[in-house]
Amino acid sequence: MRAPTPSSEFLAGVKAELPILLGVAPFGMIYGALAMTAGLPVAMAQAMSSVVFAGSAQFIAVQLISNGAPALVLLLTTFVVNIRHMLYSASVAPYLRGLRPGWKWLLAYLLTDEAYAVAILHYQQADEAHAPATLSPCHPVTLSPCHHHWYLLGAGLALWAIWQLCTAIGITLGAAVPPSWSLDFALPLTFIALLAPVLKDRPAAIAALAAGGVALIGAGWPYKLGLVAAALAGIAAGAAADQRARRSARSPVRVTLSGSAAQHSPQRDASEGSGHGAGDASAQATGLSMTEQMRPLSRVTTQHSPRQDASEGPGHGAGDASAQATGLGMTEGTRPLQR
């Protein structure tokens, strides 16, 4: 694999963001038009897109302003509506650790839903591409330059530019943006497009379902509190599922008869708790005592711990463990993980 350079990463980020821009563009235009309807001065409507730079907050703010809401309400609403960005911040923080403060300050400014979603996927894919046993030249622990922050920069700047442009267009067109075109639907479509590649394993799917369910229940709550509750519920549910999968990978209980090993390999990339499968497979294949059996598994797991800031998924570790433990066609098990 060719080593990434700043410009290759930057361009890749822009390129990945382009389809997302298609979804965000109508949203920006609608915001601009809405701001005009609400009676905001042009300069303020345009400025909000760079000073605040948060779509949903801007939308809600415009409506609040037109209803004559006091400043305090605006500030409180902004805070609650945008609190989900703290999750983005936490999620991306480990990847930005080696960077100079200037980078952190800049990238934080650009951390919108859409830029974050594209970038975090890239970071996670970069993690998975590195075999855990080897330290590639581009590695989070050594903090060698991977230049992935340029990817986030590219995606973020692309989004920023489109947002300013479409705000301006919306302001100019004003009421001429026809609501019958349902252009606002492009944004949920964009998020659907962003969600699909992220549902890689079972904990992710569980997180998505739990979050979706709670979000539906809380859809009527004020200040988008339903969204925050849903996100937290989803994370909790997914983390629990992840824990369960890891625990059964380490538990010495499972001894199943032969045949299941072959069954598990093709399922590796399906949403099975991958650690679970590895535990089974290695148990059958070697016939060692359970504790000896599981030791390679736990050794690999602890090897991974200092590298957890690479945020490897459970399936990754388990795949390697089974490869080591059995030496049988368990390498088949790892193949789906390395893209």
């Binding site: 302003i65 400043a71 650790r97 659907i192 996100a231 800031d309």
Partner: protein, 107 residues
């Protein structure tokens, strides 16, 4: 609200938003999170994206609409299928919008 108050308020909104985005990047920039927390953070993308999508499609503007008469629901499902199959964002958005317009014409 007077104009200067508007501008100050907007500036404050911006600082709040920026502060939130910067918060963990700065705070966690020096601290290594425990493994369990790291693993939990991996679940932020599916959780938040779902939290945004589900109400938009199934409960637009707060009103439940799970009927087949909801063109957004059907268009959303079609788009989800395309997204799942192709992992192509452009195709997902394009097909989704086309589906919505087609369904709105029919229903």
């Amino acid at each position: 609200m007077t104009s200067p108050t508007f501008w100050l308020t907007m500036l404050a909104m911006g600082l709040i938003t920026y502060g939130i985005r910067l918060s963990m990047i700065l705070l966690l920039g020096r601290v290594a999170l425990p493994d369990a927390a790291q693993r939990a953070l991996r679940l932020v993308p599916p959780a938040v994206l779902s939290a945004i999508i589900f109400p938009e499609i199934l409960r637009p503007a707060g009103a439940w609409d799970i009927s087949p008469g909801n063109p957004r629901l059907l268009a959303g499902l079609i788009a989800a299928l395309v997204a799942w199959r192709t992992k192509n964002a452009l195709l997902t958005i394009g097909v989704g919008m086309a589906a919505l317009w087609a369904l709105q014409a029919i229903i």
